[in-house]
Symmetry: C2
Subunit: 408 residues, 2 copies
């Protein structure tokens, strides 16, 4: 009989890709890309060379002869960095180097979640985290936030509701430091409150610290993980935002019992070794100065995109100035459906994340959208936001004013 | 309440890792590692440098601006290599670069298998492929093989049995060229027969060609994929065995409908880019000559391990000389339980794969074991096999003769 793939695939798959990659649109404000112009190429090339001179022949061995937790010198550097930046005290045995924080996310889900389990997330949260929960038939529910982060009373309410309907919540997923998508930093008081609630309800906390290297102030509160004396908090970080996302290097930090389980769940025969050894050579001498320069550049781009929003959208665009990172969360008037706006913008060569993809309850994101500003040039930021305002005006009659231009 | 991880983990997890990595035993004959001494380091360093000079700033973009199917110049090289070595004709759109063939395996399973589905495998097969099927609650059943590969009549019998009990077989998993663990090469006649059966039963075939670069003869039959005009065959390969396994680079080749589904299932935000760009620079000038040298070295090591087996086990060890690759499958007398042997050997610093982990029906592997010879030195091969014979004699009274030594 003639072959038909559709009769052979698994049930419930997401739709297939429509077509092979055709390149990016001119104004690309999605995807968490980094600033290529900021990469210190001579230092990276020198690091790769030294790394290969030192460890090259060990590439012939899975995991470079330092085990499935990842290249040991990289973990040693991480132990020091975690201590100085997040105040987490741990050893190399508490770290698994992962293929980006994406894999860290996946490992946490694989180890903890049965189908039907619920994860409590922040009202606005990382879109792919929700997609993945959906993929493994786990559920999620959002908790309202304010500028200090997740609201404890709201969290208690959500947990009580889950309990009332007999649903099991396994963990709270939070991005406390440079929250995605809001760019806020959770207060210390809230960090304590969150852990306190987790303890009282016997929940775990998964603290995603992916963007936390990039605060405008150059400071940050201690990680929630530092408050944890029981092994209840799992932490992850990444070099995607601080260096480059196509280098797939992230890390998971947890007490040994969780690490031991995650190791058997990590069935990839190791994360990329060339990237790990290159970073291990690069980081000790260059990480701090690179991150300082990169953050300064992102701050300028963040200012530029706020200026562009003021200029092109006037008072129609509401947003809270991010405290770091590479994205801004913008809310438009109730007349604007940002899912429709994203479609119209795509047709005009502008990519944005419609709000509904970045919130737990799609209704709450209907008038908002996320713009990533790490990669676009200053010119693309200015022109792209101006064009987005044009598209928005055509579709929804908003904004009425762009700069000096009064629209009808 | 005090925190207890065991009350939070998913049901049915495999046991956690016992302890952090402590290094390898002196005689390590498992794990598919490669020969570090054969790596052309100056050429790899030069390739990494050129790659970073050319593409370094694109590391700031997920997937290097060439899409989720992987670095385009690497796919372009693969198109030519596949044509000349396997006779597969395809385009860059038919390839997904993966994080080792491990990820290719995982993608095939994720796209095709529902829990309870069955995969037909060769009687002896890649242990991790079975572990993974178990992890996703799919089932597998083995088909008897001879030196030419899977036996068509036996395959028909197995398929009829599955049908009789109402089980759905989605695909046949085969390693036709340098089979794991037997080291045989499937005949052309059998390749045709296998595809013919797949067509008649409307099954897919997953052809794992991981070891196929490494044939002693420097030739090979065309891939089964070349016989497929319908998109029924999915193919994968890897650079783990031809270059280095800690570089996590493999590839999946299939018709677009499958590629399109696999792309949405590939949720890792890309495979390691530094490894892909370095290989893309290295391969065109050096792959053929490197593989020729590497294969010659592996042939010498393969001869050495056969000599060692003759010397230390005499007629007690039966094996078929491999036609390529990095492992040999050895069968001992019925009095030897190789699972117990592997335990005793581990205590003596020798790692081997007990046969039951490398066959679909554990009973059929009870007296066999697999030795990987790609990484150990000639001295380790000679001494390790001699020590293994000692352990085996102590445990089972076999072999009675080792070289000139008569044991009692």
């Amino acid at each position: 009989m003639p072959f038909d793939l559709s009769t052979h695939v698994r049930s419930g798959l997401r739709p297939p890709a429509a077509a092979p990659f055709k390149g990016f649109p001119p104004y690309y404000f999605i995807g968490g890309n980094n600033a290529g112009e900021a990469l210190p190429m001579p230092e990276l090339i020198a690091a790769a060379t030294r790394a290969l001179e030192k460890e090259g022949r060990n590439l012939a061995t899975y995991n470079l002869k330092t085990g499935a937790q990842g290249y040991r010198p990289l973990r040693e550097w991480l132990v020091e960095r975690l201590k100085s930046w997040t105040q987490i005290e741990c050893s190399v045995d508490n770290i698994i180097v992962t293929s980006g924080s994406t894999q860290a996310l996946e490992l946490v889900q694989k180890v903890l979640l049965d189908p039907g389990d619920v994860v409590v997330v922040e009202g606005g949260t990382y879109g792919s985290a929700m997609t993945r929960l959906h993929d493994i038939e786990a559920d999620y529910v959002g908790v309202a936030m304010d500028d200090d982060g997740i609201i404890p009373a709201e969290l208690e309410k959500v947990l009580a509701e889950l309990k009332a309907v007999g649903k099991r919540c396994k963990y709270i997923y939070t991005i406390p430091t440079v929250q995605n998508p809001t760019g806020t930093i959770m207060s210390m008081e809230r960090r304590h409150a969150l852990l306190d609630i987790a303890q009282r309800h016997d929940l775990m906390i998964f603290e995603d610290d992916c963007y936390a290297d990039l605060t405008w102030s150059g400071t940050r509160p201690p990680a929630i993980k530092t408050l944890d004396t029981e092994g209840r908090v799992i932490y992850c970080g990444s070099f995607s935002k601080s260096i480059a996302p196509a280098l797939r290097v992230g890390y998971l930090v947890a007490d040994w019992p969780f690490i031991a389980q995650a190791l058997t769940a990590k069935t990839d025969a190791g994360s990329g070794a060339l990237e790990q050894i290159t970073l291990a050579e690069f980081l000790p001498a260059h990480f701090d100065s690179h991150v300082a320069k990169l953050t300064a550049l992102f701050k300028q781009k963040c200012d530029a995109i706020q200026d562009a929003l003021h200029e092109s959208f006037g008072t129609s665009a509401e947003f809270r100035p991010p405290e770091g990172g590479i994205f801004i969360w913008v809310t438009l008037p109730d007349t604007v459906d940002t899912s429709k706006l994203a479609q119209a913008a795509a047709a005009a060569g502008i990519s944005i994340n419609p709000g509904r993809d970045w919130v737990a309850d799609p209704e709450t994101g209907k008038h908002s959208f996320r713009l990533c500003f790490g990669q676009p040039s200053f010119e693309q930021i200015k022109d792209g936001v101006a064009k987005l305002a044009e598209v928005c005006h055509e579709e929804f009659g908003v904004p009425l004013t762009s700069g000096n231009v009064q629209r009808s």
